[in-house]
């Protein structure tokens, strides 16, 4: 069930309506659990059991961890939780990738292993990571084990972040369990504002420029260098607006129900270094990888070489998390190398700073070029696209898609507003928008609609989405991960 569909709007209205009815807190949680399960089942009801199994395993393992002080036993239950999560993730997401590569190696021996052909359960990468964070944090004694299985099931199945994040940690979500559930005027205003912004990013920018990206990446060798760059720019815009739009809608939906989800994007394309990019891009994943992979591997505490290896390993696995393909591994590898180079540069010249005016375009160019293997169908497609970009191909087709110019203009306007907000100014104050700084969800705008200008701004935005938003478009990119 996509967030930008009539079916979802009906579903959301039903959930909000049900949670608005006065009833015991526990029953409202049950309503949310059932609603979330239906939301998930709308994709494929067969995998609902998988989601519930994960919640049972991790709840149980965490309870066993908390029940003893014996380090060996605690480690055993932690390992059991991690292994079962990774086994489920590996089986459904990576088994065919592994078998395909195995078949490649066995090619000369004449043997071939049949592929499993499993359908990837929606959001599996997100909810396994989410659930794993719980047992690890209980093991580290950072959080208390959840006292109610209903609470834990609600955390794992919570529909706003279930399919494509943000990856909400138990330490962020479980403390909110005591809050009253259901819409209030204030919650609706906050949630609605975030939802509209997210929907605008998705329908007004991402889905329009997706046409350009799809067109160019489908036949990368056919295009002139200029059009290939248009395609790459379009994809860079698409993936950001698609994913951050989804995150905004998820955070907005959760707010309507009374929950705060963590900020996932903070204008990543204004980053002036790769390290800064990763502090702004898919923040919940970067922080998850940092806290649950990079630091346990030793982080930067075991010498320079080990730090570099840890960085590279973390980014490689981060790349592989996105999908079972060597293209994603290559993407992670490139970012890992860039982070190592950045660290080396900082070590070699701690005092010298590259001017932001130079560092920003260089970083953006690097990030954009890294999207080539990320988006291309395979290695051949990556090479063909790179050849076209640098004028080494035979492609001649020239196409100047005007939607890209519109998308770019909107994205730049959005970034200018975002940068002004970060500096403590509010350029949309005239439209009765209020800046909210939330300790969990970050900085965002709330449209109050108490003045003519405020009501005009919101109505115009909704009309723009209705009239100019893309109708034919692709599903959210991160659904496939």
């Amino acid at each position: 069930m996509s967030f930008v569909s009539i079916r979802f709007f009906v579903f959301l209205a039903a959930i909000l309506g049900a949670t608005a009815i006065p009833m015991p807190h526990r029953r409202k949680k049950l309503v949310l659990c059932i609603g979330s399960s239906l939301f998930y089942a709308a994709w494929d009801y067969r995998y609902l059991a998988l989601l519930l199994i994960i919640s049972v395993i991790d709840y149980w393992c965490a309870a066993r961890i908390a029940a003893t002080r014996e380090p060996r036993v605690r480690r055993f239950w932690l390992t059991a939780s991690i292994v079962s999560n990774l086994a489920i993730l590996g089986w459904f997401k990576y088994a065919d990738f592994f078998l395909t590569n195995l078949n490649g190696l066995l090619r000369f021996s004449g043997h071939e292993v049949a592929l499993l052909g499993l359908l990837l359960p929606a959001g599996i990468s997100f909810y396994t990571f989410k659930s794993m964070s719980y047992t690890i944090d209980v093991y580290r004694e950072r959080i208390e084990p959840c006292s109610s299985h209903l609470d834990y099931t609600m955390f794992v199945t919570f529909f706003p972040d279930l399919i494509a994040g943000p990856i909400v940690r138990a330490s962020v979500f479980l403390p909110q369990m005591t809050r009253a559930i259901g819409p209030t005027r204030e919650r609706m205003l906050h949630g609605f504002s975030l939802f509209v912004i997210g929907m605008g990013k998705k329908l007004l920018i991402a889905d329009h420029v997706a046409v350009v990206a799809n067109e160019v990446f489908a036949t990368p060798a056919a295009w002139s260098s200029a059009t290939a760059w248009c395609g790459l720019l379009a994809y860079s815009l698409q993936i950001y607006c698609d994913f951050s739009g989804y995150s905004d809608m998820a955070i907005g939906t959760a707010k309507m129900l009374g929950y705060d989800l963590p900020e996932n994007f903070n204008m990543p394309y204004i980053a002036a270094s790769v390290a800064e990019f990763w502090r702004r891009w898919h923040i919940t994943l970067s922080e998850w990888l940092r806290d649950y992979l990079y630091i346990p591997l030793g982080g930067n505490r075991k010498g320079q070489l080990r730090t570099d290896v840890n960085l590279l390993l973390t980014m490689l696995l981060g790349g592989l998390w996105h999908g079972a393909s060597w293209n994603f591994v290559a993407w992670g590898l490139l970012h890992g190398i860039a982070l190592i180079v950045h660290r080396a540069w900082r070590r070699a010249a701690p005092q010298s700073r590259v001017p932001r005016a130079l560092a920003w375009p260089l970083t953006l160019l690097f990030v954009m070029l890294c999207w080539v293997p990320f988006r291309a169908i395979n290695l051949d497609g990556t090479i063909a696209m790179l050849r076209s970009l640098f004028g080494l191909g035979d492609g001649r087709n020239v196409w100047w898609p005007v939607v890209l110019a519109w998308g770019l203009a909107l994205a730049i306007a959005g970034h200018l507003i975002g940068m002004a907000l970060a500096r403590g100014r509010n350029p949309l104050a005239i439209a009765d928008a209020e800046v909210v700084v939330d300790p969990i969800s970050g900085r965002y705008l709330v449209f109050r609609m108490r003045t003519i200008a405020g009501a005009f701004f919101v109505a115009a935005t909704l009309l723009a989405i209705y009239f100019f938003g893309a109708v034919e478009s692709s599903p959210f990119i991160y659904f496939q991960f």
């Binding site: 930008v4 001649r396 109505a459 009239f467």
Partner: protein, 325 residues
Amino acid sequence: MKRFAITLLPFAAGLLLAAGVFELLLRQLLWTTGGPGQASTLVRRLDEGSGVSHRDARGIRVAPPAPGPPILAIGDSFTEASQVNDDEVFTARLQSILGVRVLNTGVAARSPADYIVLAPKLKRELQPAWTIIQFNDSDLTDDGFVSSKAHFEERNGKLVAVAAPEAHVGRVSRLLGQLRAHSALINYGIARLELFHAGSHMPPLFRGGVVEKLTNPLATPRDNYPVETELAMLSAAYDGRVTFLFLPPFREEQNAVEQRVLAYCAAEHLSCVDFRTTFDDFRRRGRSPYGFTNSWFGRGHLNAEGHRAVAELLARELRTRLRTP
């Protein structure tokens, strides 16, 4: 009550203001004035191309006057060409090349069965010296056999062209029609709703996915359609003074339907123009005859360059047929 009204008034005023602004904006982007039996203007700048088309009361696209018996151009949205301006359509360009009036009567969604059904009326009213009939492979196959519009049907072992069934216009539809005729906001609002509704059959909901194709039980697979009979009927309907304009897709290889059309034209010595003959030139220049900067490359309707190429191709063919200098 008073407090409630004070709270509500700015909100309502803001909404009305936004609706007013969008009404004006949409009139500049996508709007039709006039209607059946009247001169009309269609502004289309939003989704595919950017053109303003004017039509006279007979539905013929406006062009400067020219001497002699006219050439009639009939076809669907490719001939209607609302994506480009009046002077950019292939009919206008052909007229300026040949110096003969070319009457563009293209209407979106029409099919070869329509052209046969309409032939007596068009010949009587417009008295063409020659007729250009534009179509593509789906017009002669799947689209030509959809019973909800003018279509071909087999009756007693004979292929016949059947007129479109009379559309029933209810009271609500009539009221909506009047509202749509007066407000761009309502008109496009309903059109968008229809798009969302149509898209709601696509998984997941109104996003992406594959639209289920209309299938015709008469003649599937595609190769079984009676293409040659259809061509013979079209030619006969206009007394054999016909040039077929075949518009194949830019990105696909020649298919069986196209081969059959060309083979039939050659066998029967019919005037036939295959637009594919210009594709190599487009490819050499890295250009495409179809698609716009605000839609796709190589897909959709003819762009201005495509129309120019069609006109030049037709001019070469018609000079020999009509013996014009």
